[in-house]
Every structure is written in structure tokens, then in C-alpha cells.
């Protein structure tokens, strides 16, 4: 009989792992909390650095995992350790015995409303990076449709690198996401001024720097080095942004038709619930803690429990997919050792 492997989370990490595990002859069971597969990527438009349509990535994964058991709208209600396996009860009443549990519960987008000084949910013309991805996909958002777009600003590090928001860590993907979105906005509104307010630009990945150069040179996106300290709204409903232009050493003020907050990737609050069930460790940033951050990123401290993707920290799509494949292989050799 094929070994069961319970995969918690049907985002790209969970699906890629399921795809590999099917090929290796296992019976992956995907337990997905929401009513659809694909996680966050299913909500994005195009992916940096090549502007691959996100829906292509997701639909090919959905196709490849067609033979897996998939439970939507389902979570783990409890889990306990047997001799060399886990007894898992799902919220839909199904119970499963599995030698391995792969956790792929991903991340949460920081709730931008918590940074009150940025006015999300208060001022009409303030949105988040996620809202903008939705607009790229469905073209439906009053904040953009109802207004003239002459000047648009992006605020980096919203809820990241911020001890006041209790997230000192860098979310890693939002600098390049801002560049991606700034270019996309410029393509749609070529005459608009587009500003990115940043503290440091983290262009760590393959072709990211090219993207940044294109934003500067070919699209005329203006990069201002200074963290936005305050946002207000004038009587016409436009947003006024204040920062220090730290390179000029002078305060700057600009009036914008739209402000986009680059909300960071923070830990999924379910981490602590799941961790509590089988005493897994979480890190100081709230994400799951790997057995080793260099040599053993996909292992937990518990036998038979593995991680892949953004549940251990901010990751890009290619990094997530690579980890999912690596976890599948680790799982395969673990089961062969038992």
C-alpha cells in the first residue's frame, strides 16, 4: 500500500511537493484551509523577474496534482504521535495515519491598517501591494478607476524592518515587488510620476538589478531614499506624503493620487496553533524554525515533520518550489530509512 503523506496547505509549496511525491509513488493528501488551491500566488498577476503570468504557474501545478487527495475548506483539528507515524484528525471528520506530515502553510500579508500613520482603510486613495495585484487581475478598484492618475507613490517596508510593528525582519520580496508594480503602473499610466520611498533596496535575485535599472532608465520611476513618516489627506481627497530625502538631507513632501503600501510577509498566525499540537518550534520572527537554517531548512526538530516554502520565512516563488522538491526528496529518504 502507498504511504500517506499529509500536506498542510495547498499553496504552490504544497502542490509542488505533492507533484513530486506522486512521482515517487506516495499518496499525498493536501489539506487546504481555504476554498481553492494556489495560496497567495493565485491572487497575483505576473511574477518577477520574467513577468510570467501567475495563473500559468498555478494552473500547471493544479493539473499536476490532480491525482492527489485534496480536501478544501479543511484544517487539522488535532495531531498526535504514534510509534513511527502521526494520527491526524481533520476538521471534516476524516482521520488519517501518516508517517510524514509536510507543513506548507505559507505566510500572511501584514495588516497595513495597523500602521495607522499610513492611513490604510482611512484615506480613500491608499491601497496595498495585494490590492494592486488584484486590480492588475480584475481591473476593478474604485481607488484607481475613479481618479486621475498623475502621481503615484510606493512605500517600502510597511510592517517590515519595524520594531513598532513587532516585525524587525526584512520581508525580502517587497523591494522587487515594488519595482515590478511600479513598472506595471507606468505601463498603464505613462504620464504619471511614480515614486518609490525606500530605506535600502534589496535586489538580491537573478535579474532583479536589471529590473531596477529598467525602472530607473526606461520607465522613469523615481527612487527617494527616506522612510515615509506620515500620510495625510487634503480636501480633494489626495494623499500627502512626508519623508526625509536622506540623500538631499531635506524634508520632502509630495501630493499623490494613489499610495501603495508594500505590506510585508509575516508569519501565518496558524504557525503557533500547529506548533502547539506536536511541540514544534517557532523562531523569533514567528515563522516555523527549521532544524538548521543552512543545512537542513526543510526539516523540523521532530521526526517525520517537514517544512517547505514561506512557512519558515519570506521566500520567492522559485525558492519555494525548489524547497518543495527538496522536501519531497528528504521525505522519500526518511521513509526508506524507517
Amino acid at each position: 500500500m502507498k504511504d500517506n503523506i499529509v500536506i498542510v496547505g495547498g499553496g504552490i509549496a504544497g502542490m509542488e511537493a505533492a507533484r513530486q511525491l506522486l512521482k515517487l509513488g506516495y499518496n499525498p493528501i493536501i489539506v487546504e484551509k481555504s476554498d481553492r488551491l494556489g495560496g497567495h500566488v493565485a491572487q497575483w498577476h505576473c511574477l518577477f523577474p520574467d513577468m510570467t503570468p501567475a495563473k500559468d504557474v498555478v494552473s500547471s501545478l493544479i493539473e499536476a496534482t490532480g491525482r492527489a487527495n485534496i480536501f478544501l475548506n479543511t484544517e487539522i483539528s488535532f495531531m498526535n504521535r504514534l510509534k513511527d507515524s502521526y494520527n491526524i484528525m481533520l476538521t471534516n471528520g476524516v482521520s488519517v495515519i501518516a508517517k510524514v506530515v509536510l507543513v506548507t502553510t505559507g505566510f500572511s500579508v501584514f495588516d497595513a491598517g495597523k500602521k495607522e500613520e499610513y492611513g490604510y482603510g482611512v484615506y480613500d486613495q491608499v491601497m496595498t501591494n495585494s490590492d494592486l495585484e488584484h486590480w492588475f487581475n480584475d481591473g476593478n478598484d474604485d481607488r484607481i478607476d475613479g481618479s486621475e492618475m498623475n502621481a503615484i507613490g510606493f512605500v517600502h517596508c510597511v510592517g517590515s524592518r519595524d520594531e513598532k510593528a513587532r516585525n524587525p525582519q526584512c520581508s525580502k520580496v517587497c523591494c522587487i515587488t515594488a519595482v515590478k508594480q511600479a513598472i506595471e503602473i507606468k505601463k498603464r499610466f505613462p504620464d504619471a510620476m511614480v515614486y518609490c520611498f525606500y530605506m535600502d533596496l534589496r535586489m538580491f535575485g537573478k535579474k532583479y538589478e536589471d529590473f531596477y535599472i529598467a525602472a530607473q532608465r526606461d520607465y522613469g520611476v523615481r527612487f527617494i531614499r527616506g522612510r515615509v513618516s506620515e500620510v495625510s489627506e487634503n480636501i480633494e481627497g489626495k494623499v500627502i506624503v512626508k519623508a526625509e530625502d536622506t540623500l538631499a538631507g531635506k524634508p520632502v513632501k509630495v501630493t499623490l493620487d494613489l499610495l501603495v503600501l508594500m505590506a510585508g510577509m509575516v508569519c501565518n498566525p496558524d504557525c503557533s496553533t500547529l506548533a502547539g499540537m506536536v511541540s514544534l518550534q517557532t523562531d523569533s520572527d514567528g515563522f516555523f524554525k527549521s532544524r538548521d537554517n543552512i543545512a537542513d531548512i526543510t526539516s523540523s526538530s521532530r521526526d517525520g515533520i517537514y517544512y517547505a516554502g514561506a512557512c519558515t520565512g519570506p521566500k520567492t516563488v522559485p525558492e519555494t518550489l525548489a524547497e518543495a522538491r527538496s522536501a519531497a526528496l528528504e521525505i522519500h529518504s526518511y521513509i526508506n530509512r524507517l
Binding site: 522612510r227 513618516s229 512626508k242 519623508a243 526625509e244
Partner: protein, 112 residues
């Protein structure tokens, strides 16, 4: 007074920050009192929000930077404009108790 004078940077070669000769004795003492003195990442939030900044050129970011580069006189001169209102403490993303830090700077550096 021009910006260059306050800031201590101008194009003339004599204003080069020579890291070989910077005397950080006092700053190290400050660091003992205020472990966060090196934690600033120069984001400018404090300056943008400072009520004294727009008129006097006061910038806590510049003060800390000047101290770290041994430009103590510029820093002390700028600090005179601070009203100790503490607004900067509310915005600092590195969680520095900036008001407390400013008080310690005032105590340590006023001797000379």
C-alpha cells in the same frame, strides 16, 4: 548660514571624512550608556516628523551620523534646536528611545 556649514560637508577636499583620524572615545562612552547608539539605519523618519526640523535644520539622523564620523561640533550645534518633545521616539522603526538618547548625548558632549 548655509546647509553645508551646518552639515559639515562641502566639496572642498579638507572636509573629507578621514576615518583613520576619527576620535570615537566619546561616542564609545555614549554607546556604553545607550547601546542603541549604533542601531540607527538612517531612515530619516525622526527628521521627517521633527517639529523643529523644518525651521532649524535639526535632524536626529544627521546628529547621529555626525557623531559617528567624529563631527561633534556640528552635532552639538544642531541639537540645540531640539525641544525634547519625543515625537521622534514614536516613529523610529528601530525602536530607539531617541529622546533618552538625545538627553545622554547632551550630558556627555556638553563638557567640551
Amino acid at each position: 548660514m548655509t546647509m553645508e556649514n551646518i552639515f559639515g560637508f562641502s566639496i572642498s577636499p579638507s572636509s573629507t571624512v578621514n576615518l583613520d583620524n576619527v576620535d570615537l572615545t566619546l561616542f564609545n562612552r555614549l554607546h556604553e550608556l545607550e547601546p542603541d547608539a549604533w542601531k540607527c539605519m538612517s531612515c530619516g523618519s525622526c527628521t521627517a516628523t521633527c517639529p523643529a526640523g523644518n525651521f532649524s535644520g535639526m535632524s536626529l539622523r544627521k546628529v547621529l551620523h555626525a557623531l559617528q564620523r567624529g563631527k561633534e561640533k556640528d552635532a552639538v550645534k544642531m541639537l540645540r534646536c531640539c525641544m525634547l518633545c519625543g515625537k521622534c521616539s514614536m516613529v523610529c522603526p528601530r525602536g530607539i528611545n531617541t529622546r533618552h538618547l538625545i538627553l545622554s548625548i547632551c550630558k556627555l558632549y556638553k563638557e567640551d
